[in-house]
Every structure is written in C-alpha cells, then in structure tokens.
Amino acid sequence: MLSRLADSLYWMSRYVERAENVARFIDVNTWLSLDLPTGYQEQWSPLISTTGDDALFAEHYHQATKQNVIQFLTFDTRNPNCVLSCVTAARENARLARQYITLEMWEQINRFYFAVQAAAQSATRGFQPRQDFFSDVMTACHLFLGTLYATMSHNEGWHFCRLGRLMERADKTSRILDTKYYLLLPSVDAIGTPYDDLMWAAVLRSTSAFEMYRKRFQQISPDRIVEFLVLDREFPRAIHYCVVNAEGSLHSISGTPARTFGNPAEQQLGRLSAELNYIQVREIINRGLHEFLDGIQVRLNKIGDAITNAFFALQPVPVVSPYPGREA
C-alpha cells in the first residue's frame, strides 16, 4: 500500500489511543481525589509527566492545580498531546486515509471530533467539562476501535493501525506505571491502609486493568501490579502483550517469517519481545523499575523511528528531464 497512507493509518490509530489514555488518566485521578481525606494533597502534576510535556506545561502555567492540569491535558491546543489536539490529529490522518478507511470509521471519528470540539467551545466560555466527558471520550475511542475491527478488512492497512495503537499503548502503560509507582513508593511498607490500597487500585484503573488484575491476583501488591502491567501475556494493555502483538502485525505487513527479521524495526522489536518473554518481575525490581521502564520507552521510540524508515520514508530518486524548460 501507499507509504503515505500507511503513515496516516499508523498515526490515526496512535492519536486515538493517546486521547483515550489521557482521558482515562484524568478520569481516574478525579474519582480518586474524591475518595481521599480532606487536606490530603491531590496529585495532578504526575499526569503531565505521562505525556512527557512537563516543560511545555511550565511554560504556560504557574501551578499544577486540578483546573490547570485538566485544561492543559484536555483543550489547550498549545499542547499537541491534549485530548482535543489528539482527536484533531487523528481526524486529519483519517481524512488523509479517507479513501481507505470505511465510512463507519470516518463517521465515528467525525462524531468524536465534533463532540470534543463542542465541549472545547463551551470550555472557552468558562464551563468546565462535565465529568462524563472523559468517559465519553473513552467510549468514543472504543467505538472507533470497534468499527476498525468490525468494518475494515484485516489487511495490511489494518495491521498498520494495530501497530500504531500497540506502540502507543505500550508507551503509555509504561509511563503511567513509572510515574505512579514512584509517587507511591514511600508507602510500600504501609501496605494495607485504606488509602494506599485505593491509590494502588488507581494505578490499575488508570490502565483499565483493575478488574482483570483482581481476577488474576486478587490482593493488591506493588510487585504484582508491576508483573501484571509489564509482563502479562493476556491483558491487552500490558507492555508484553502490546509488544508481542505489535511484532505480529509487523511480520504480517512485511511477510518476514516469525523469529527472523527483514529490517531494523523487526530486529529491534523482536529483541524487545524476546527479553520480555523471559524476564521475571524480581529482576525488574532489583534492577530498578524506573531504569527498566525508561529503557523500554527509549527502545519504543527507536522502534517507532525504524518503522518510519522502513515503511513511510522511501527516498526519492532525482529526475533530470531531457526537455528542460520546454514551456515557460
């Protein structure tokens, strides 16, 4: 398929995934703050770290108050990773790929865009977004994903969509875990108090993992949360799951047999996937979770660049016309 089209599908999918993650993180944090006792300091600045935009935030805002953070992450278009920017970018990419995606997908992304746009307009008139705005955003993302699965052939383009989504998701899960884990770390010894439990549960909720975690491990424990969010093979937001399935899509696209590679993207992703296959949670904790997650993020970025080079950025060949300047 056309390189530019593959590029658009990949980014369309990434931006929808990003919007969903940002919205969920805000949503979970809001509910959590309601459960905490009065006077307990609310934690809003970590939300900014999960999109990696701390410097940009500091440029435009003085304090990481709830209102500022929500505005920055939802409607402030100076932030390329806010919900509105993500949905706009997803829609622009969908427009570029419009002849390829299905009408159902296009209509869904449009409805989604107009809804977020309308909320942004009322926000400029001083209305804070209603709380269910964020769950609406998540639902809209799920609907888009549903139309993608149910209406589009599971062909090369679909695999580019899946690849983009899983790369984005692996990155976001790793960032959410990284930020939250360090905030909660001092209280590891005090496990069992009601608030710690609530806050660890919030880590799981931020990645939509709470229910599935309970089914697997029941009791809340930091190590097991790390194990679940990093190494689980079945939970669709776990880093391991994302990496293994992204690898699958990459091989479906290129046709290269599994466990071999035909380009640097496959080589790097395959290597990361192999490591996650065999590493144990104890090793991760002992080595240092932050270092480990940071390493994952760096490698995911490199793999993203390698994907761009392998599929989207074919180099042009210079042309010289035998009839120069035929017509002025």
């Binding site: 398929m1 622009e92 427009r95 390829y100 042309v319 016309s321 120069p324 017509e327």
Partner: protein, 477 residues
C-alpha cells in the same frame, strides 16, 4: 402550508407552471411535500444537513481559528427533469464532447480547422491554455477530454443553453452521488413511484473509462487519482471517487519517475502506475515542463506521458477548448467536424477581441454578464445589472487593456426552483452541470449537479460565492 404565497415571478420555474400549478413531472413530489407538513419537512432538511456534517462533507470557515466547519449548503427540494427534456440534452452533450475532442486533437496535430479559417489562428496561439508541450502528442484513441462537466442553463424561454464547457478538472460529481443518497432517505416513496434514473454507477463507468485509456499493452492497469491534498476544497470528492473506484488516492509526493515509468511509493517499495486521473491543473502537474514552482506535481511526469508509458485524464492541453472565447466558436466547430447543426445552442456571446462587438459590450455593460476567458469558479466576472458604476468602469478598463481575455453574454433569466427559506418556499436561480465520460464510448450521467444561488435574486451559483446544491432527478418515463 409551505407553498402558500409561493411566487414564480416572471421566471421559468422548474417545479411550477406560470399559473402556479405543479408541472406534471413534479406532481408526485408536490403532493408528498403537501402531505408531510411543515415541521416534518424542516426536520428532513435538518436531518440531511446533519448527515452531511457527520460524513464530513464540510469546508473550513476562513478566519475562524476555533475550527468551525460548515457543510456545502444543500436543499432537499429536487430539480426534476422529465424524460423528454433529457433526451435532447443527452444527444447534445454527446455531440458537443465528441466534436471538442476532435477539435483538440486537430489543434495539436494538423490544425485543419485553422487552415480552413473556421477558428482564427491568433485566437489559439494567444490562448493561455494552449500548450506548446502538447503539440504532436497522441493520447490513446485520440481521446483528450475524458471527463467533462458542461454547464447548462434554462432561460426564460424555457430552452436549455450551454453556458460553459469545463474540460480541465470539472468537479462536483461526488455531490451528485451524495445528494442522491440523502434524498433516497428523505423521500423514499416518491422515488418508488417516479422512476428516477440512478446515478450511483458513475464510479464504475469512470473506472472503465480510465482503464480504457491505459497505455497500449498494459493488462490490468493500475489507476491512481492525483489530488493536490487535504487542503484542496475538492478533496472530499477526490477521496470519494478514489474510494468508490477502489483506486489509490495519491499526492505528488507519493509519485516519482524512475526508469521511464511513473511509480508510487508503497510500503513494499515502488509500484508502477499506468493511468492517472489528475485533479491538478496542467500548470502544476510537472514542474520540469510547466510551472517550475509547482510543489503539487511530479517532476518528469510529462516525459513519461510523451513516451506513452502513462495515461493522463484529462490529457494536458484540453484547456484550449474551454477558453471562453473558443466557446463562442463551438457551434462552428461542431458543424466543421461532424457536419451537424448544434443540438444544444450556446448563449449568444460577444467576443471582445472583435472591435465592433467590444464597442457594443462597453456601451451596454449594465446589461451584460462579462467573463474572463480563463477564469472559473465565478471569479473574474461582472454581472452587469447587479453592478455598480465603479465596478463597470474597472471592467471597461480591463477589457480595453486586454480584449482577448473577455467575452460578454446577455444577462439570462435563469430558471428557478423552490428552496426552503425558514418556514416557507422561495424561488432561487439554478444551473445544471451534467457529466460526460469519453473513453471507448460516450457515457452521459443521467442527472447532474444542480447548483442553486441561495442569495435572493443572485445569479451566481458557485459554491465559493454563496451557492448550494440540489439533487437532480432525471425521469425515465
């Protein structure tokens, strides 16, 4: 009731006779509208607009940074063309498109028509749209203009006239198809009973036409549609047509000339393209041959085209036949090549190039519509009766400075169709753009884009100037 107090004025109304009774072709629709009631009808109109918005058939409002988008206005009352009126239109279009293709081929080869003095030689060589680079080129089957969108108007005398030939990159056909989809949902019963001819097969005919013109020896040609990109106002249409033909939608940066062929960049390397339906003007398709500053085209494309290794639709150079001065000669062109009288007449046209005609135009500027020979989209145009003295003075100056560039036509009393204005109907002027495909055979789409000037009294139907559109129903009996 909504039609109460509806005035046809002194105009030909497409829906009503002069005495106010519905025309036979519109009776069913009239009854249906009467039976649904005002509120319901307005709900239909809103539903149609919402569907267009949801489908993203929108354009950006300039100067609005909040990203407000608007739909191209659409009115749910269709324009109905009875079968007996359509027949001569279709025959006339076939005749015209056939003759114009022969004309273009002659101009870029033997130039018999110039030698025989039917069309003045100077007129051709002074035309901006004449392409020296196209002289001697041999497009497949001598077909130059594969896709035409001819503008017709109906005058107060009830007759159809050709207003303009659009032979370069005519747009609007996607609205024909989209409007029809919406109308089928709005008035299903009327469709059931009135034998409206379908238009939905246009993409199949278009694809066949494009495959027909593939370079000789290509089996299973790869067709691509070349668009300037998402910021172009017709991008929706480009994506729409590519999608419904199942062909790639490409931008200039997706294409590259390699080893004498046009290739597109794909995830699996470079793939050859055989036919390009380009929606970019000649000027911009190849910076090495035409405008060197073009960022939209493909460097070297024309060399591949000259070598017969890629087909372009429309062929470069077709613009010569839609120069508005050449337009005035089309009846003679038809007579010359086909030996036939013109079936669909031109609007009487004064060519400012001619001294006597120019003087007449300048003396009567307040009665004429003046058009620049090479503009489209309603630009470079003066509607005399609606103009100010200052505007007329400007045009007089422009005409004297460059007489070759202007023609004038009497102001026509364009026919009208009812449109919904808040809680009632008012008549608005319309034109009609049918689409003609020219490959192995000629196909005239039974329908077309009815453009409507939504401003009260306005005669300018272009979407860039406050125009909207309507569905066009051609009846089969």
């Amino acid at each position: 009731m909504l039609f109460e107090g509806y005035e046809t004025g002194n105009f030909y109304d497409e829906m009503f006779e002069a005495d106010g009774s519905p025309r036979p072709c519109a009776r069913l629709l009239y009854e249906r509208i009467g039976s649904v009631g005002d509120a319901e009808l307005r709900r239909y109109q809103q539903a149609a607009e919402q569907a267009l918005l949801r489908m993203g058939i929108t354009f950006n409002v300039y100067g609005d940074s909040a990203g407000t988008e608007k739909i191209f206005p659409f009115d749910i009352v269709p324009r109905i063309v009875p079968a007996e009126e359509w027949l001569p239109i279709e025959r006339g279009l076939r005749q015209r498109v056939h003759a114009l293709n022969v004309f273009i081929n002659d101009i870029y080869h033997e130039q018999k028509i110039l030698k025989d003095g039917i069309v003045p030689r100077d007129l051709i060589f002074s035309a901006k749209s004449f392409r020296q680079a196209c002289v001697g080129l041999k497009p497949v089957k001598d077909a130059w203009c594969h896709i035409t969108g001819t503008d017709l108007v109906r005058h107060g005398d009830g007759k159809y006239y050709i207003l303009e030939d659009n032979l370069r990159c005519p747009s609007g056909v996607s609205y024909v198809l989209q409007n029809r989809e919406i109308m089928k949902r709005t008035f299903p019963q009327v469709f059931d009973d009135s034998n409206v001819r379908p238009v939905g097969d246009y993409p199949s005919y278009l694809l066949r036409t494009l495959q027909d013109i593939a370079p000789a020896g290509t089996t299973d040609p790869t067709v691509a549609l070349l668009t300037p990109g998402i910021h172009n106002s017709a991008y929706f249409e480009h994506a729409f047509l590519a999608k419904f033909m199942g062909v790639e939608l490409v931008e200039g940066r997706d294409l590259v000339v390699m080893n004498g062929y046009v290739m597109m960049r794909t995830t699996k390397g470079f793939e050859r393209v055989d036919v390009i339906y380009r929606r970019i003007d000649d000027d911009f398709i190849d910076p090495l041959t035409f405008r060197p500053d073009s960022m939209l085209g493909v460097p070297g494309l024309m060399d591949v085209y000259r070598a017969g290794r890629v087909a372009l639709a429309n062929a470069p150079g077709t613009g010569i036949a839609d120069d508005k001065v050449i337009y005035a000669y089309v009846p003679k062109i038809i007579k010359y090549y086909l030996g036939e009288d013109v079936i669909l007449p031109n609007v009487p046209t004064y060519v400012c190039w001619d001294d006597a005609e120019r003087q007449h135009v300048i003396d009567n500027l307040d009665k004429f519509v003046v058009k620049a020979a090479n503009e489209s989209g309603g630009y470079g145009m003066l509607v005399g009766p609606h103009s100010t003295a200052e505007q007329r003075d400007k045009f007089k100056e422009a005409i004297r400075a460059n007489p070759r560039n202007y023609i004038a036509q009497p102001t026509l009393a364009l026919s009208r169709v009812p449109v919904i204005v808040e809680d009632h109907f008012e008549g608005r002027h319309v034109d009609l753009r049918p689409y003609v495909l020219y490959g192995k055979e000629i196909f005239v789409l039974p329908g077309g884009l009815t453009r409507v000037a939504l401003k009260k009294g306005s005669l300018v139907v272009n979407s860039s100037q406050g125009g909207g559109s309507k569905d066009t129903w051609v009846l089969s009996c």
